[in-house]
């Protein structure tokens, strides 16, 4: 059983929702003036349908709302009746919907179409299309919903297709889709006021454990994971130390969340003792992961996140990730990106079994200044006698900014057999080791 409340223009939607929530937890907002309530199973609380409608009207009136209420076995019938009838309360017994709608004008189909548009038509149907169909019914000599409902379904389908059949079902007061209840926004938040201020991360880890466990349970019950974690530490100095952690994947494991917070606080510790701890989570739908029997399992995102946090705490910010090339001719140009192997996408590269692999270079991130002796324009000594050399290869670029380079590169082999790449900086006329061929 469904009830529909329709209010006069200019009424507050929030107020109307509050009234509806007093009667049913499952409500759907159809438009700013209409709300549908699922009244199933509420007779023991509020009595029969009419008593329920009267109670609804009284409550709305007490809040200053002028409402029209219709109660019927289907949402469609209740909505059309609330729109069409002039009385404050209309009640239709379950099963009598088609009869109750039969005398109403066919133009009311547009009322239903406005709310059930996705169900009425699979394509994006403009409102004018609804009007065109109603006009068609008119031209056929059909004036009431009862006339449309009485047609043969086969004949309607033959002339208007499936959309015509849907119009006919609406005219009979049948629902094309279930109720889509409004889900109230849930807050995933836990806070604790400490009796005594705490200092240091070790006691804080126990407090965080107490906060994370219920948060994790709450997230699990709602099928959610944490996308962003906000930690607010109220310090004794009345300063709020706030940290925000963007998580790479939705996580709801309490231990992983606690570890991530602690690792972040290790790098950014609070300046004073802590009075109050509060943790808020921005939820996101949890991950659904189908493991493969054929590929090697990768570590869970929780483990990876923890590992990355530990490595970042150890090595420093921006020193852990995946390498990436940048669009530049600068020697050794590279970038770091976040390490996030996609568990579902298999690697498309073929396993190389090449007999002749490409030789690698070990590049000195800061080129090492070298003492080089030059004869006839060629290096003959680079810390040792040069036995072979090739070059120069001149490269230059970025002359328009401070990252400019202008160099002559040489490949040299020294007497110990090691091969180096050296270059002469043409701006300063100094020699540097760029890397080792290895």
């Amino acid at each position: 059983m469904f009830g529909v409340i329709s209010v006069a223009e200019g009424s507050s939607l929030e107020l109307m929702q509050a009234v509806a929530h007093e009667f049913s937890p499952r409500i759907e907002v159809n438009d700013p003036r209409t709300i549908t309530l699922d009244l199933s199973g509420l007779t023991r609380l509020f009595g029969e349908a009419r008593a329920m409608g009267e109670a609804l009207a009284r409550t709305a009136g007490a809040r200053g709302l002028r409402v029209r209420i219709a109660i019927a076995g289907t949402r469609t019938a209740a909505r059309v009746l609330a729109h069409a009838t002039g009385g404050p309360l209309t009640v239709v017994d379950p099963g009598d919907e088609a009869a109750a709608l039969a005398r109403l004008p066919v133009e009311l189909l547009a009322v239903c179409a406005g709310h059930d548009a996705p169900a009425v038509s699979n394509r994006r149907t403009p409102a004018s299309s609804h009007d065109a169909d109603v006009t068609t019914f008119r031209r056929w000599g059909l004036h009431t919903l009862g006339d449309v409902a009485a047609l043969s379904a086969d004949a309607v389908a033959a002339r208007l297709g499936q959309q015509g059949v849907r119009w006919q079902r609406l005219a009979r007061g049948e629902d094309l889709r279930p109720l889509l209840p409004v889900v109230p926004e849930e807050r995933f938040e836990q806070a604790i006021d400490l009796e005594w201020p705490i200092e240091g991360l070790e006691p804080l880890s126990f407090v965080l454990g107490r906060l994370m466990d219920p948060l994790s349970v709450h997230l699990e019950r709602r099928g959610r994971g944490a996308a962003v974690l906000h930690v607010r530490l109220h310090l004794v100095t009345r300063v709020v130390h706030e940290r925000t952690l963007q998580l790479p994947t939705p996580i709801r494991d309490a231990r992983a969340l606690r570890t991530l917070v602690l690792l972040d606080l290790e790098s950014h510790p609070p300046a004073a003792a802590i009075d109050c701890v509060s943790v808020t989570v921005d939820p996101t739908p949890a991950r659904d992961l189908q493991h493969s029997l054929l590929t090697r399992p990768l570590p869970s995102p929780e483990k990876l996140s923890t590992l990355m946090a530990r490595l970042t705490a150890l090595m420093g910010e921006g020193r852990c990730g995946s390498p990436a090339l940048v669009d530049s001719w600068a020697p050794g140009a590279y970038a770091m990106t976040r390490f996030s192997p996609d568990t579902l996408v298999p690697s498309h590269r073929a396993l190389s079994t090449s007999e002749v692999p490409a030789v690698a270079l070990r590049r000195f991130r800061h080129p090492v200044h070298a003492r080089v002796r030059v004869q006839q324009g060629r290096p003959v000594s680079v810390g040792g006698a040069v036995t072979q050399c090739a070059g120069p290869w001149r490269t230059a670029g970025h002359w328009w900014d401070e990252e400019t380079w202008d160099r002559d590169e040489w490949d040299v082999t020294l007497s110990d057999g090691a091969a180096y790449r050296v270059f002469r900086d043409r701006r300063t006329d100094r020699w540097f080791l760029d890397g080792i061929v290895d």
Binding site: R296, S322, P323, A358, A360, R365, Q388, G417
Partner: protein, 268 residues
Amino acid sequence: MSNPAVALLESALRARKLDQTLTSTRLPGRGDGYLAPTGMARLDAGLEGGLPRGQLSEIVGARSSGRTTILLQTLAAATCRGEMAALIDTFDHLDVPSALSAGVDRNRLLWVRGHAISRSQGTGLGSRFGPSTPGPEALVDRVIERAVKALNLVLQAGGFGVVALDLADAPLSALNRLPFTTWLRLQRAVEGSETACVLIAPRPLARSAGGVTLSLDGRTQWAGAADCRRLTGLDVTARVVSPRRRAESAVTISTTTQGDACAVRCLS
């Protein structure tokens, strides 16, 4: 015919599950998945399939012996199999174009960059190439210590096919200062996992009984006349030493500068 006393001792160690250190113990066959192929057919043949998983192996050699080339090939093979690989780059010497031209799937490579120590301290070059700013030894020690800790974290996290620690440019004096228990601890961390842990160093450090040691010797190859010489690659001789498998073989591998940033540079 083995000595009965040795056999008794071995059986006692096995009973206490302490037989991992026995070089005479042949590991039970666990199929192809037990080994991590390097992606180089000749080297894999010398290694009887690849580097053993759950063991600490080493790639050792002097400069320009092909250590980095073989390391990058191993990482590329692992990432191409869909596994994750990690490189603890102690002194931040990875050349990204070289890694990508070797075929490393960058999305599956975790690159942990250590601190590039300025001047020649972290290059292993000493003051040979000119005046260097002598940094405190403690700085190098700290960088190496951090890299070992990072390796430990990655091994404990698990799930990686190949994990490598690059100590190729670490000064020998600094490596000698590392307690030997470091390698035992790492061996213990990787034991039983499906990770092949690889150490790149100038000389053998861990000497793990279960792992293999690839001892490399490289020779540069040059081509062209005197006025247009060019470096064409390295000829690498890899000696495979595996105490547990009692294998000792030598493999020669040729590498080329084709596809290297050097070749790209020539074309441009």
